[in-house]
């Protein structure tokens, strides 16, 4: 070869090197700029998944914290809710580039390899900043405890509610003296209520919005009523499926009956119909700002105890400490301080409809004045949760697998009894399957030492 210079391989290597060096350079630039921008001594990076009204409330709480703690620079990043968030958090924790503080749904914690991708909280440090176990509903606190260590500090509880329009229910004589919906204690009573409401409601609308086609909502409703019936999922060791198909069938038939009796228009938009005059809708408490903003005369109770016992589906936003190899020191303490502060100043958060997890907040006069929050605050003590296993949690594998089955029953494309059997089969399969994060089944589960 007469020509001097590069051959192909050298060229490729050179270009590759340039690319890598370039990206590293940019990365270095990024972190440098961060440190320069904040004059504070301690920097706490905080990843969350709150957008919309929740996002604005969270930022207001962070700003209040910044004002009181000028020595701590809080750098918050809002990531897209759902799987992208969890994916990023997992990869960052595994790659040792995790932020000091993160937020997760409490139900997802067990599957997130606590001990490996998550670091435990220092309860003494939390107590120093004013948050103790005694300030929580014990069951809620314990959901964040795995192998005796606290991995998740709940910020709130968000629950499924029965929203009702007072103007419609008044006409149907379904409001009590206190201006709230009359109590319902059985499925018969519940369908009587629907029947009466239907007689006086605006024509052309459905009587109740049930999210009949939505696998998440249908799954949450199922969990609520299955818990009301006293149904359980697995034994304590997570070695055996205790799921009761008979109870499940009862719940599925109950949900289905709303459609067969004509109280639901499948596929009709739920919130919009409620705003337009439909008497009922079952929604998450995050719809409170929407309905309040629409200036409706409405109330909200936990899902009616039609099977005799109070229980409504509840999930929680919780603070977590993503795994950092060198966790500790001022930044770690800053993360504890920030989380403790937000937990204790969650009144603003309650405006988004969520029930603050820090119970002293609930007995403040300011909180008790909030309507309809003060009507459903009791849901804190009647939580229906998914089982504490790795495949559970908001938009997790369990909901993804069983949700569509509930929908198929409610929509009438499968018989409740056969769906209940299929659910049991799927639960058996899931219980035997291994958590891809650590290769453990639910029975072997827990934190990795």
């Amino acid at each position: 070869m007469g020509r001097p210079g590069l051959n192909r391989r050298q060229l490729l290597a050179g270009l590759g090197g340039l690319t890598v060096a370039g990206s590293l350079g940019f990365a270095a630039l990024g972190t440098g700029a961060d440190a320069l921008a904040s004059g504070a001594d301690t920097r706490v990076r905080y990843w969350n998944l709150f957008s919309g009204g929740d996002g604005a409330n969270m930022i207001a709480m962070l700003d209040a914290f910044r004002k009181e703690h000028p020595d701590i620079a809080v750098k918050d990043s809002t990531l897209q809710w759902g799987n992208p968030f969890y994916t990023k958090l997992a990869m960052a924790a595994a790659g040792n580039r995790a932020p000091e503080l993160g937020v997760m749904h409490l139900g997802r914690v067990a599957g997130f390899s606590p001990g490996r991708l998550l670091d435990p909280w220092d309860e003494n440090l939390l107590a120093k900043y004013g948050v103790r176990k005694e300030d929580y509903n014990p069951a809620l606190w314990n959901r964040g405890v795995i192998d005796g260590k606290l991995y998740a500090l709940p910020l709130d509880v968000h629950v499924q509610l029965c929203f009702y329009r007072k103007d419609v229910l008044k006409k149907a004589d379904l409001l009590g003296d206190d201006g709230r919906m009359i109590e319902v204690g059985s499925t018969g009573e519940w369908f009587d209520v629907l029947k009466k409401a239907k007689k006086v409601q605006k024509k052309g609308l459905q009587t109740i919005g049930l999210w009949t086609n939505d696998q998440n909502f249908q799954w949450w409703f199922f969990v609520a009523f299955y818990t009301q019936l006293g149904g359980t999922w697995f034994n304590d060791d997570d070695t055996e499926v205790l799921f009761d198909p008979d109870k499940a069938t009862q719940v599925l038939e109950f949900l289905r009956r709303h459609v067969t009796d004509g109280y639901v228009i499948p596929g009709a938009p739920t919130g919009e119909q409620f705003i337009n005059g439909a008497p009922f809708t079952w929604e998450g408490n995050w719809s409170v700002p929407v309905f309040s903003g629409a200036k409706l005369e409405y109330g909200a109770t936990p899902l009616p105890p039609v099977f005799g016992k109070q229980a409504t589906h509840a999930e929680s936003h919780a603070f977590v400490l993503p795994h950092q190899a060198g966790r500790g020191g001022a930044t770690d303490e800053g993360a504890h301080e920030l989380a403790a502060y937000v937990v204790q100043h969650a009144l603003q958060w309650a405006a988004g409809g969520h029930i603050p997890a820090y119970t002293p907040t609930l007995s403040t006069a300011a909180y008790q004045k909030l309507t309809p929050q003060n009507e459903y605050v009791s849901a804190m003590d009647h939580q229906a949760n998914e089982p504490k296993v790795w495949f559970a949690g908001s938009t997790g594998v369990l909901a993804q697998d069983l949700g569509p089955m509930v929908v198929s029953s409610t929509m009438g494309s499968a018989k409740p009894a056969s769906v209940a059997e299929r659910m049991k089969k799927e639960l058996t399969k899931l219980l035997a399957s291994k958590n891809p994060m650590d290769g453990h089944t639910a029975a072997q589960g827990g934190a990795v030492a």
Partner: protein, 313 residues
């Protein structure tokens, strides 16, 4: 006898010199062209070749999303996938979609092209109308149709006086996606047909007319046979594109799998396994399986075509 021996003597020499000049050309070609191709090659290697090889490797492991602690598990992922009824269901949805879309789009594109070709006035308006939707990003088109199909407020039901729950009933959901896809992508096939129509020499039609062939005969005996190759191309491209159904379906179904999983495509199920269940190894194995299926379809078409051409000869 003599001629053959002479040829055998000469031929190798000729071939040799030709081969030599080709290598010279090839060498020179890289030295000049290589620099131009290099930037592409780097990106191609980085974003196509490397991920592909990495994907094949991962498919033999139980890797999770965090990227650490992967064990070699041999063919376990493949064995599990082939027994996974949810995977076959998802493949069925992709196939069903393909089966609905391909014939519709081919026929529709042909008729639209005929229309645009034969209309005398305002030709460009028609071309623009039929092709314009194809220029929209898939998310925009899907989002728009989601609104059109929404029950109670959607323009589609309103216009046709229907109350069909397009997006929320499992028997209609896929049809809704098919309708959206037709509207959105027919422009591309339409353009191919239009170009082909313009390439048919006019004298064929004149001759046929002189022989007394009416419009129908001219279409069946001249237009269609002359468009045979382009039809093959349209069908092949559509099959490959339709099997990869993903973006419009997830957008129209609010990033879910549709009512009772009715619109969960193979690609979507793979994504769920990787990013909801965190099973990157398993998802990789499914991707490879899908790759094999797609490659088989493409190869099958090639073989079919070659046989047909040989038969025609």
């Amino acid at each position: 006898m003599t001629t053959t021996s002479a040829e055998t003597v000469i031929a190798p020499a000729r071939a040799q010199s030709a081969a030599a000049s080709a290598t010279v050309r090839r060498k020179q070609g890289f030295q000049h062209g290589g620099w131009f191709v290099a930037p592409f090659l780097v990106l191609f290697a980085l974003f196509v070749i490397w991920p592909l090889l990495r994907g094949i490797y991962l498919s033999f492991t139980d890797a999770n999303i965090s990227g650490e602690g992967a064990n070699f598990v041999g063919l376990d992922n493949y064995r599990e996938a082939l027994k996974d009824s949810a995977m076959w269901d998802a493949l069925g949805h992709s196939a069903y979609f393909t089966l609905l879309v391909v014939p519709c789009i081919t026929v529709l594109a042909f008729f639209l092209a005929m229309l645009a070709h034969h209309i005398e006035r305002g030709k460009w308006v028609w071309r623009l109308c039929f092709f314009a939707p194809f220029l929209l990003p898939s998310t925009v088109a899907a989002n728009m149709w989601q609104w059109l199909f929404t029950q109670g407020i959607g323009l589609f039901n309103e216009t046709f006086g229907l109350t069909t729950p397009w997006l929320t009933d499992k028997s209609y959901a896929m049809l809704a996606i098919v309708i959206e896809t037709l509207w959105w992508t027919v422009g591309f096939s339409f353009l191919l047909y239009l170009a082909a129509l313009q390439g048919i020499p006019g004298h064929l039609y004149e001759a046929a007319k002189l022989d007394g062939a009416n419009a129908w005969h001219r279409m069946v005996h001249i237009t269609l046979p002359m468009l045979r190759h382009i039809t093959g191309l349209v069908v092949a491209l559509q099959v490959l594109a339709s099997l990869q159904l993903f973006d419009q379906a997830v957008v129209m179904m609010d990033f879910g799998p549709g009512p009772e999983l009715a619109t969960r495509s193979f690609v979507q199920y793979t994504l769920e396994q990787g990013f909801t269940s965190y099973r990157v190894g398993y998802a990789s194995a499914m991707s490879i399986i899908f790759f094999v299926i797609i490659a088989a379809v493409a190869l099958g078409r090639m073989v079919l075509l070659r046989n047909r051409e040989e038969g025609a000869r």
